[in-house]
Every structure is written in C-alpha cells, then in structure tokens.
C-alpha cells in the first residue's frame, strides 16, 4: 500500500516534470520573457535595497573600527573619571603585539578639556570635548585618522604645544558640518586655540591639523601627543586610560582577550560591536526598514507572480480540464505549475544575481552613494542572498499554487467548456 502510494507520487512527479517542461518550451516566448523580466526586476528590488543597507552598515562599521574604536578596546577596571589607569603600558603593549592575530596596538590617555578660540571678529567661542594624548606613530598603525586630514598635517611623536582637531570641533568654515553651529566655527590649521584642562590648567596650542573622517564621534575628538600629555598631567608616564588593538582579519577576539587577560587581569575589554552605540541603533533601524521593505517586496513579487500565473491558468483552463478528464491527477497538474513557477523564478534570480554582481555593483562602485561617513558600496552577503532566494521562491510557489489549486477545484466540465 505504502509502496503503491510512493509509486503513484513518483508517477505524478514524472508527469508534472513532463508537463512543466512542455509548458515552458511550448509557451509563448514573449510571455515567457516578460514573466522572467518581471521576476528579474522583483529579484533586483529584493537585492538592491538590502545590499545598499548592508553597504551602509558595513561602511559605518569600517569607519567605526578604523577611526574610533579599533577592533578591541582595553580599559582599566574601575571608574574612568576617578583616574583609574592601565600601568606598565609599554610592557603590556609589547606583550599584546606578540600575540598571534594582533596587527597593532596603541595607547591613549583621555582627559576632559574645554577649547576656546577667538576669531578675527574677536568672537570668543568655546567647546567641551575629550582630548587624547596619543602615540602618533603607533596610532597610525591602528587607526586611519591620519588619512582624513582636510588641513595641515598629522602629529609627530615628539610634537609639543600642537593639537589635532576633529572638524566637528574646529568647524573650519565648513557650514555643512553636522555640528557646525556648536563648533568653534572658524578654526584652521595654524590657528591658536586655548585649552583649559579639567584640572584648571590653561595652555595655548597651535592647530597642526584638522581631520574629517565622516564619523561624527571621531570628528568630535582632539589629539595631543603622549609627550605633551605627560607634561601637562604629571605622573602619567607609562600609563593609559585605554589601549586600542587592531586585529588580523581572521583573528578570534575572544582568544586574544583571554591571552591579554593573562598579562594583566586588571583590565576590561570592549569589542568594536560593544562600542558601536550609534552604529548599532542605525543598524537596528535599517534592519527594521529592511524588514518592512522585504514584506512590501514579497507582496509585490507575490501579487505579480499570482497575476502572471492566474492569467496563464485562466488561458489554460480548458487544457487543465482535459488533463483532469483523461485521468491526470490534480497533484500532478498543480506540481507542474509549481515547477514552471520555480523554473521561472530560478532563471529570474540567476539573471538578477548576475546583473547585480557584474553590472550594478561595478557601476555603483564607480558612482558610489555618499553618506556622512563616506562612500557606500553595495554589499550583498551570502545569508542575505539565501534569504532573498528563499523568500522569492516561497512567494512564487504560493502565488502559483493558489490559482492552479482554484482551477483544479472547479468541475471538469466547467473547466473544459466554461
């Protein structure tokens, strides 16, 4: 009985494959091409928006890692404001650098400051910010801030009395800067600014350079050299408020954190993901938008395929009636239409994927979209591609199933003669 049922299913499948094949090769070529063309557009639509959103998130994450947090941030345990610092930094950096998977490490000392600037019209503007004492040479191995200078030059390890400002602080007469109205507005490289440290110490600095990474949190930072920092805040030699570690592409952050903890157990770790507050909330919003667009796109795809199949089935209503009259089982007829729909959707997906990969992505790469944090390139990852494929296949099958199922439910005579 069971074997008989399996044999019947196999026969139905065989008939379905045969009918689907004949249906495709004998179909009106214009209708077939139009169907596939519509499916290509639907598939491209399903790929483009998530690809763009993925690109935005990837670009924002890259900017976060390369200019703000690095892959791994190491901080002294305890409350930062109360002066907890990592000690024996040089030894620790040497040890960290020796770990397999670590590309570079740098140390920073953070301090709260107020920067003021008196412009040509004697208008005195002030802004509060975090100023970091950095090791410029090491810093360039971990971060790319030095690549984003819009004025002046980067710091040298032995620089004194010089400061590097983010554009959101300096303003630099760039009125399109997001926080321009809160900035010092007219500061340029070579100008003098006055810094008041949170200890009350006041000192004048020459602006050596101004950077604009496009990542607002980075562009709200100011940098002096570690040498300068130690001269302002005594007792901070060989200390740091934080270390930033750049990892190799395939490195395992958990393993590296475990190894670092063996050198110094009094530190806390933060991965770049934990540092990605604004990016995370942006990603969450984009995922929500993506989800909504997915539903809309799936509905559009479903309705399109439904209409195509419905028109096709209505035109073939008599043929379906004849097939049923000569004893072809309903499941074979339904399966034949599902196979046809599957075939069309696979062709649509493959062509769309090829177009996306070899035409749209290269074109967009040469004419990228620009966002505040830089150029965004379309990025379609495998899981997203799989999701798009599965979504479109399911929607197509459901959309094809409904009209065929409805036709196979009407009386044979009504199907043949209407």
């Amino acid at each position: 009985m069971k074997n008989q049922r399996i044999r019947n299913v196999v026969k139905s499948l065989k008939v379905a494959v045969f009918l689907a094949y004949k249906g495709i090769v004998r179909a009106n070529i214009g209708v077939t091409l139009l169907t596939i063309f519509i499916l290509i557009l639907v598939a491209l639509n399903l790929m483009f928006v998530p690809g763009l959103i993925n690109g935005i998130v990837a670009s924002a994450n890259d900017k976060l890692i390369n200019t703000y947090s690095s892959h791994l941030v190491i901080e002294a345990q305890g409350i930062k404001d109360q002066g907890y610092k990592i000690t024996h930094v040089k030894n620790l950096m040497t040890a960290i650098q020796s770990i397999n998977g670590v590309e570079a490490v740098t140390a920073r000392n953070a301090v709260g400051t107020n920067i003021s600037f008196k412009d040509k019209s004697n208008d005195d503007r002030k802004i509060n910010c975090m100023t970091y004492g950095i090791m410029p040479e090491q810093e360039m191995k971990v971060f790319e801030v030095s690549d984003w200078l819009v004025e002046g030059s980067y710091l040298d390890d032995r620089d004194r009395d010089k400061i590097l400002l983010g554009i959101q602080l300096a303003g630099t007469d760039q009125t399109n800067v997001e926080l321009y109205s809160h900035s010092l507005r007219h500061v340029h490289a070579g100008d003098k600014v006055t810094i008041t440290y949170n200890s009350g110490y006041v000192k004048q600095y020459t602006v050596k350079g101004i950077f604009r990474t496009g990542f607002i949190q980075t562009d709200l930072q100011a940098f002096i050299t570690q040498l300068e920092y130690e001269s302002i805040i005594p007792g901070t030699h060989d200390t740091a408020t934080e270390l930033h570690v750049r990892l190799d592409k395939d490195a395992d952050p958990l393993e590296i954190m475990r190894r670092i903890a063996m050198f110094n157990s009094d530190v806390d770790f933060q991965t770049w993901q934990e540092n990605a507050g604004i990016v995370n909330s942006m990603t969450t919003s984009f995922q929500l938008i993506n989800g909504i667009l997915d539903v809309v796109n799936a509905l559009v795809a479903g309705i399109t395929i439904f209409i195509i199949t419905y028109v096709d089935v209505i035109n073939k209503r008599r043929q379906i009636g004849i097939q049923r009259a000569i004893g072809i089982k309903n499941n074979a007829i339904i399966f034949a239409y599902l196979l046809r729909a599957l075939c069309y959707v696979i062709v649509g997906l493959v062509v769309a994927r090829l177009l996306f990969r070899f035409a749209i992505v290269p074109f967009e790469a040469s004419h990228p979209f620009y966002f505040p944090f830089g150029a965004v390139y379309l990025a379609l990852e495998i899981p997203l591609l799989v999701r798009t494929t599965v979504l479109l296949v399911i929607v197509s099958l459901v959309a094809a199933f409904i009209p065929v199922m409805l036709i196979t439910r009407i009386k044979i005579l009504d199907a043949i003669w209407g």
């Binding site: 008939v15 045969f18 043929q319 097939q323 089982k329 074979a332 005579l413």
Partner: protein, 225 residues
C-alpha cells in the same frame, strides 16, 4: 457490464430548475456497442458525461462491474477514468502543447501497470489509427479527422473496458467520419471494447448493436434498431 439505474441530473440556476436527465435506466453488456440518440437538448451528452464520470448525477446509480461509481471521491473517479475508461470528445480535446504521440502517451505516464511500455504502445496505437507519419505533429498541424483519431488512440492507451464517444464525428467530413466510426467498430469487434457513443446522425445507427433514445431527458421505451 455497465448498469444505469434511475439516473437523474438536474441543473439549477437560481430558482430555475432544469431536468436534463429524468430517471434513466438501462444496461450495457460487456462488449456491446451502444448508440445514444436524440434531438438536440435531449440529454445525450449529459448522459454520456455522467457515464464517463466527468460529472456527478443528482441521483441514481451507475454500476461498473458491480461497483457503484457515481458517488465516489474525485480522486477515485480520476483513477477510474485513467485506468478503466476512455473518453472521446466532440472537439477532440487534445493538449495543444503536446505532439500526437505525447497526447496519447500522457495518460500512460500516469498508469501504474508495470511491464507495459506505454511509449511504444502509444506509437502502436497511432499506427493502428493510421497516423504513424504524424506522430510528432502538434494538434494544430493535424486535420480534424486526424485529431479525432489521435483522441481515439489516447482513449485506448489504458486498454479501457468502456470507451465513451461524444459526437465524435460531428465536426468531421463524411470520409473522416466513416474512418473514425470504422475505427470504433473495429475496436469493438477485434478488441471486444465496450463502446457507448452519442450521435445525432440517424445513419450512425448502422454502427450500433443497441440503441438508447432520449427525449427531454427521458429514455424512450422499446427503442430498437
């Protein structure tokens, strides 16, 4: 043996009721060749469709080899049509996307009889109806008579117990009609296939051994050849 007991078919459109078949009863012995005749609208085709299990009667019974088949599920009637019956439509009812051979072979693909090469049988049947050379032609490339002969070959692919032919020659010229009817007669004679055919042409009586005459859905009594 095909037995029909008190077969009634009523069509309802809103409150209007039309009795297409009214208490029809008769028997078709195995191997018989029966002609159903009657004026247009007398219920001939309606009767044949009930017997061919393409439609369900409102009441009454159809017994095929001691099995009541009128009220079986769609799936079982589909299997019965596939395995035990053959049906020839007035308008040939071939599948436009398939060649003559594929039209004949298609039901064979669904049949579960092991050891039968249905593909070859389809070729043999087309040869039998004189269409060996037209095997790979699509229906639109065939004349009406040729299409009807393909339909006959298709009806024979399952080696049916009964073939139902609904005005099989209505759309054909005289020569093609004779060819089709001769084919049915030969099937009945040589292969002992029971044939029930509908015709409005009084000349077709000559092909039948028994006659069923309908008028306004009712069986006319004591009609004989």
């Amino acid at each position: 043996m095909l037995e029909i007991h008190n077969l009634t078919k009523i069509y309802r459109t809103g409150s209007v009721e039309f009795r297409a078949l009214d208490d029809v009863s008769f028997t078709v012995p195995t191997g018989d060749m029966v002609c159903i005749m009657g004026k247009s609208g007398s219920g001939k085709s309606t009767l044949l469709r009930q017997l061919g299990l393409l439609d369900r009667p409102t009441s009454g019974e159809i017994i095929l080899d001691d099995i009541s088949v009128a009220k079986l599920s769609d799936d079982i009637t589909s299997t019965l049509r596939l395995e035990r019956l053959g049906y020839i439509f007035q308008e040939y009812a071939l599948l436009a996307e398939l060649t003559a051979h594929e039209n004949v072979f298609l039901p064979g693909m669904m049949l579960s009889n092991e050891g039968i090469d249905y593909e070859k049988r389809a070729k043999d049947l087309l040869e039998m109806v004189g269409l060996k050379e037209k095997m790979h032609h699509y229906p639109k490339e065939l004349s009406g008579g040729q299409q009807q002969r393909v339909a006959i070959a298709r009806a024979l692919i399952n080696n049916p117990q009964v073939i139902f032919a609904d005005e099989a020659c209505a759309n054909l010229d005289t020569i093609s009609s004779k060819l089709v009817m001769d084919t049915l007669v030969n099937l009945n004679k040589d292969m002992k296939v029971t044939i029930v055919f509908v015709s409005h042409d009084p000349d077709d009586k000559q092909y039948a051994r028994n006659l069923v005459v309908l008028s306004d859905g009712k069986l006319m009594p004591d009609e004989q050849l």
